[in-house]
């Protein structure tokens, strides 16, 4: 370890065990010392002794108001860096207070994907060594790194499984009614059978063997299959669905930062963008809904800030510069259309993609949304996949446009510089021409 790299001491104040584990595993990568506190009272005990460089604070602690606590600490001269990563603070005024008055450097709403968290922590830990760079490259394959890579890939694979079993379940329901082709379901089951266990999902692998066997019999002669066979098949699919869903839930809560992180790191070192990491702001007065959207999009490695009011929205936008804004139409004290129009008046947000998400689906409302300056309109309820696809498409497109625009302005500058040179050299040569003709004449 480079002796210049001072070890960072982090005081982590959060009552959520899983989140603390996530931060600890990220912190280990950067050789930082992490002191944990599960409440403000515990933090109070640790703070005088630990000389924290950084405090990571959840604002939803049982034993008091974390914002007030932080304010008191700041007033008494505590100058450590503070990150607030929380499930709370969904008022725009909380955000502006934390950022502008209390000197909070990073503010994130949970859930935060491990990848994003890793990136943010990396940026602030000031340690540039890669976790695997300490090993000499000639020392054979770095098995730990490969295992991490495989683990990351396996997480990705596992995430797709519940949907694939849902598909199988629908297919089997149809087959039972004498509809559809058994071969589609059979091929799908066969693939899962071959692949799942290679990714370490042995239980699912075994269930897939049963499903594959049953489907072979169905494919051979569906009408000859008895009730017992259908039951075995359906039970196996249900069980596989349950097991795969469970493992997705588990990987969501315990996702190892290094695994996911190294995959993305590998991607970015290859110069490949994974098209993710968009900053999204969502404004909706329904906290359950913002929570769901945050989960769905956060899961796709977007960084989602959710607010339940639009009062200080322009300050929030100015501070966060999001790639996209999701707006609810009906909020108690304000009309979404008005918010949208107001945002469009500000030249900074003229090109910000704005998407309405609302239960009002009449054509008049849809037209009004576009009139107010929205880019898209998604009716509630919305299927997760559609939400992801639409939001990603909008955000991606606007990012590309920005790149093109900055490229155009660079080109314009270059042309201008060349033009100036040309004018200058013309002027010089004219002068030289004049002076030489003056000499000769």
């Amino acid at each position: 370890m480079d002796s210049n790299n001072k070890q960072t001491t982090i005081l982590l104040i959060d009552s959520d065990d899983r989140f603390r584990r996530l931060i600890i595993s990220a912190g280990e990568q950067y050789a930082s010392r992490i002191i944990q506190a599960t409440s403000l009272a515990e933090a109070e005990l640790e703070l005088p002794f630990c000389k924290a460089d950084l405090i990571i604070l959840d604002c939803q602690l049982k034993d008091g108001d974390a914002m007030n606590w932080l304010q008191a600490k700041r007033q008494s001269g505590m100058n450590a860096e503070v990150f607030v990563i929380t499930n709370g603070c969904h008022l725009t005024s909380d955000y502006t207070k934390l950022k502008s008055e209390l000197g909070v450097k990073v503010f994130l709403h949970k859930p935060v994907s491990p990848y994003i968290l890793g990136e943010i922590l990396k940026e602030h830990f000031q340690v540039d060594s890669k976790p695997s760079a300490t090993k000499p490259p000639s020392d054979g394959p770095d098995l730990d790194a490969i295992e991490r890579e495989i683990k990351a890939l396996s997480t990705e694979y596992m995430r797709e499984l519940p949907e694939r079993f849902e598909f199988l379940k629908r297919q089997v329901q149809d087959l039972k009614l004498g509809r559809g082709e058994a071969s589609t379901a059979k091929n799908e089951a066969h693939k899962i059978k071959g692949t799942a266990s290679s990714y370490g999902a042995h239980e699912i692998g075994k269930l897939a063997v049963v499903i594959d066997d049953c489907l072979r019999k169905v494919d051979a002669n569906a009408s000859a299959c008895d009730a017992a066979l259908w039951k075995t098949l359906e039970d196996a699919i249900d069980e596989a669905l349950r097991v795969s869903q469970e493992s997705v839930d588990q990987s969501n809560s315990e996702a190892a930062v290094p695994a996911v992180y190294s995959e993305r790191q590998a991607l970015s070192s290859l110069g490949l963008s994974c098209g993710r990491g968009h900053n999204i702001v969502i404004v909706d007065d329904d906290p359950d809904f913002t929570k769901r959207v945050s989960l769905v999009l956060g899961y796709e490695d977007m960084l989602v800030y959710s607010f339940n009011d639009a009062k200080n929205l322009s300050a929030v936008l100015a501070d966060l510069s999001p790639d996209l804004l999701i707006l609810d139409l009906n909020m108690p004290d304000v009309d979404g259309f008005e918010v949208c129009k107001r945002i469009r008046l500000d030249s900074r947000w003229r090109n910000l993609p704005i998407v309405f998400l609302t239960a009002q689906t009449g054509w008049e409302t849809r037209v009004a949304a576009f009139d107010a300056g929205a880019d898209d309109y998604i009716p509630k309820p919305v299927v997760n996949q559609e939400l992801i696809a639409r939001i990603r498409f909008r955000a991606e497109k606007s990012r590309l446009q920005e790149q093109v625009q900055s490229q155009t302005s660079i080109n314009q500058l270059l042309w201008r510089a060349m033009y100036m040179l040309l004018v200058q050299s013309q002027a010089t040569s004219r002068q030289e021409g004049l002076s030489s003709s003056g000499k000769s004449g």
């Binding site: 098995l143 091929n187 071959g194 290679s198 692998g205």
Partner: protein, 130 residues
């Protein structure tokens, strides 16, 4: 003496290709060529002359055995060792594959960390460590 530098991996399942690619590239330290169908495999095999071919058995259109037959027909690819990857484990099928003249059969699921070693053993090679 056979030496492995370049492996062609043929499988229609994305996730099998991805995990096997990591294993072959990182653990085996081999160059990996990928094909997702039997007909792709024939083109790649002709153009790139891999040292071995890992061939999935169950694929739509041209399946493993059919692809294998075509590889053997073509002079450029006739002598490339072929190992089948299969999710089927029935003994009669194993016997049938061996009769076709493949150099080995690897069952899916496989342990990715051990895949290169398994291939080397099957071909009677010592695993090379770069």
């Amino acid at each position: 003496m056979l030496k492995i530098d370049k492996v062609l991996l043929v499988d229609d399942d994305d996730y099998i290709r991805r995990i096997a690619e990591i294993a072959l590239k990182k653990v085996g330290k081999w160059e990996v060529l990928l094909a997702k169908s039997g007909s792709d495999a024939l083109t790649v095999a002709r153009e790139e002359s891999p040292d071995i071919i890992l061939l999935d058995v169950t694929m739509p259109d041209l399946d493993g055995p059919a692809t294998f037959a075509k590889l053997r027909e073509c002079a450029g690819t006739a002598s490339i060792p072929v190992i089948f990857l299969t999710g089927r484990v029935q003994q009669d099928e194993l016997a049938r594959f061996n009769e076709l003249g493949v150099n080995g059969v690897i069952n899916k699921p496989f342990d990715p960390m051990k895949l290169p070693e398994q291939i080397c053993q099957m071909l009677g090679l010592e695993q090379r460590v770069n």
